[in-house]
Symmetry: D2
Subunit: 103 residues, 4 copies
Amino acid sequence: MTSPEHCATGHDGRHVVQPHKQALLKRLNRVEGQVRGIAQMVQEDRYCVDVLTQVAAVRSALDAVALQLLENHTRGCVAEAVRAERGEEAIAELMVAVKRFAR
Amino acid sequence: MTSPEHCATGHDGRHVVQPHKQALLKRLNRVEGQVRGIAQMVQEDRYCVDVLTQVAAVRSALDAVALQLLENHTRGCVAEAVRAERGEEAIAELMVAVKRFAR
Amino acid sequence: MTSPEHCATGHDGRHVVQPHKQALLKRLNRVEGQVRGIAQMVQEDRYCVDVLTQVAAVRSALDAVALQLLENHTRGCVAEAVRAERGEEAIAELMVAVKRFAR
Amino acid sequence: MTSPEHCATGHDGRHVVQPHKQALLKRLNRVEGQVRGIAQMVQEDRYCVDVLTQVAAVRSALDAVALQLLENHTRGCVAEAVRAERGEEAIAELMVAVKRFAR
């Protein structure tokens, strides 16, 4: 479900309160710590394959964040735009974002 | 070229000094800062698509780090193993790492 | 723009006439020919890297088809569902499809 | 294990008999049939999400073929080049191929 405040238009028309904002921030903080951990591994001359395994884990975590943001955006901003007959532009923008991750 | 110290076997047989270690650490520090920047954007209720653009940028930066590590590993540890007739196992391990990124 | 017939509900409620259906079929036929070409290359013992380059080309072509289908689906079926207050389920299904390509 | 004939240099220096060549050709034929099946689904106006599921299946099948080719290439041509002190160039070429799939 979209929390009611999602995609509320702020003073500059582009502010969006993410649903489950605190959980999202927590995930991002964890990713930040994981990246710091990778630097630490390289600093300590850890075996390449072990470092790579950690890089893959961070990439998965980031992808999960991206998919959460995509879903929030679709349920919030895009659905709202569709209902307001502004869907065409919103969907074009969404597809650009999807393309970046689907590659 | 592989720097001569790459894949030097340490006391536990798995330590590897990455070539261009300082440059690699610098890149990882930059990635860490970018992730912190994304958290900041979510904190400030920035527009979803702008946040997603930054997540995609971090993912690209991480992929570049991973490919650098894969290349170092192949030029160092894997090539060394092939020369020492231990290539089969080293290549099997390499392919597992490649699979994780190629998906 | 979505062609008017897109996402027309058929007798079993799931038939969808793709916009630009002939162009899409043409692209798929080309992909089929490319895959046949790869088999031919393997048959003729062509150099691995050249075969891999062709596999990458086919993958790109398939990704382009997938993104076109995702866009048609979002503009058609999903937007229609949102307008009919059935958006939640349609978006959940869309996200599953996006996840498959975003990995 | 690499079959002995892998990466045998042909008259033009680039011919390679893939290990398990018949199995590889069989997989490619199956992929070709799957692509034809997708065209058939579009022809019959099948539901977008069902078509997308099939496109994802073909992409996975192609990725598996690519990874098999990458592994054969590394075990064959690349390892041979490393042993012959021509590894540097061979690994540079390998990394270009990996990058294409890791993106």
